[in-house]
Amino acid sequence: MAHFEKSNGIVDWLDQRLAIKKFMQVMMTQYWIPKKINFLWAMGVILLTMFAILFITGLLLVMYYKPDVALAFDSVNKTIMQEVEYGWLWRHMHGVAASVVFLVMYIHLLTGIYYGSYKKGREIIWISGMVLFVLFSAEAFSGYMLPWGQMSYWAAMVITNLFGGIPFIGPELVEWIRGDYAVGDATLNRFFMLHVCLLPIVVIAFVAIHFYALRFPHVNNEIAEEIDFDLEAEKYLAGKKKEAKVISFWPDFLCKDIFYVCLFMIFYFYLVCFHYDFAMDPINFEPANALKTPPHIYPEWYFLWSYEILRGFSYEVGLACFGIAQVIFFVLPFLDRSNVVAPAHKRGAFFVWFWLLVIDMIVLTIYGKLPPVGINNTIATIASVTFLALLIVVLPVITLMERKAK
């Protein structure tokens, strides 16, 4: 066994056993952040805060929630909302956080695209981030089912039905996933398991991977400057803090991040207190009914764009395009063939491409909510084709040209 000395205090005692001082250096005081970054880089910490809120409010809710088709609706809408003290608050905080977390995630994602933060050296950060996005989507969907209202039920029906489109094994697969001939008690319970146990564990694991992936390439910066972090860190440690292009994560950087978190919290609690209903579909306040479909089914706002791609085409094609849309962002580092790491406004055609993509996704989102009749269908198809073309065709071409020009 290694040699242990009599410690001169609790910190030292822990340090001898857990190397906490070294750990703090690596995680906080000697984790280097470039100085030239703007508020968009605060989204990561905001997301982490949101996740913490979701986790804690979720724990409080799960103490009263009952995953049983006969009890679920009342356990949410009666017990938690009316009987449990502050139950309403936890529920609204949970619901609103689940919704805004996607808003922040989209900003985070688009920031990454805008500044080229997915490129050479940072691919794993990007991919682990996309995995997190998919996990959050699964988490959001499985959670949406739990109150067992009409929209919960029919969303579950439609989403599980999607697997029926897989050739050969489709119909059996759907029955297997549901554990019943239609969405039922078995389905509710397995989604409950996913929502409160399996997915959170995997999310936490990927958050860790996502952070760890930042260690070597470090975060990008506003001008996509390549920084020699060792050199700059040396300057910083030598006391030339002004000269150094980097600062330490703690205490220097985090205070700025915390400031943005505070601003965001004002927005968040404004929603929780005055507009909690924006994350709650009125149809979901009707108990699930297997024999009556709501007249118009649509997902929460953050899924509308991909839902619209599904609807934009005939059944099989729509399903295939929907599948592609789910995974296309994963391969972004490989679709972008240019080595230039620079913010979009320094890349001409790429800049135009970026904003076209954003506009197209907004159009898809708006039309995803509208009923699919008449002109809406035409717009859906055009916008969906545009989306796929932008990513699969236009982006590689633009970036190839960029490469040639260099």
Binding site: W154, M157, V158, N161, L162, E175, W176, I177, R178, G179, D180, Y181, A182, V183, G184, A186, R190, A290, L291, K292, T293, P295, H296, I297, R311, S314, Y315, E316, G318, P372, V373
Partner: protein
């Protein structure tokens, strides 16, 4: 020495693979529908009280089943179920697009799915909109004027043969 090590490695790999396969089979079965769910999969419906042109919806395996007694002015189809001297359309009332429940509009004599505007005719055939195929016919058998859903009878097999040909 090296070969002994590689033998150990091989044995370990093989044992892990066999164990893994058994585990996966076990997990798959855990997710399968329970026996009680499967056993409750039969429903009997008496067809005699239905009037011409009347639609009745019954529940079978948690799915709505449309039973439409065809009146003489309605299209005849080789998927019709004949019981006594009447023809019926018996279909699972879930749109073949994404599984919404279409509503029957008796004036237009069609099933309309509000979700994405799919339309089916009185025989359950998809006429327009995104649904890729006709409404599905549940397995059934006929016993006089009684319809037993969930049991494969010879009338069902006959219809499925027609569908295969069509």
């Amino acid at each position: 020495m090296a070969s002994r090590r590689s033998f150990m490695g091989f044995t370990l790999g093989a044992a892990a693979a066999v164990g893994g396969v058994f585990t996966l089979v076990g997990m798959k079965k855990t997710w399968d529908p329970l026996p009680s769910v499967k056993a409750a999969g039969f429903t009997t419906v008496d067809l005699s009280p239905l009037a011409d042109g009347e639609l009745r919806t019954v529940e079978w395996r948690k799915k709505p089943i449309f039973i439409l007694k065809k009146s003489s002015d309605m299209e005849q189809s080789n998927t019709d179920i004949i019981a006594g001297d009447a023809r019926y359309t018996v279909v699972i009332g879930l749109c073949t697009h994404l599984g919404c429940i279409p509503a029957y509009h008796s004036a237009d004599k069609e099933f309309v799915c509000a979700c994405h505007g799919g339309k089916f005719n009185v025989s359950g055939k998809n006429m327009s909109g995104p649904p890729p195929k006709p409404l599905e016919i549940p397995p059934f058998s006929i016993d006089g004027t009684k319809l037993v859903l969930g049991e494969v009878g010879k009338e069902y097999e006959e219809i499925m043969k027609n569908v295969g040909k069509a």
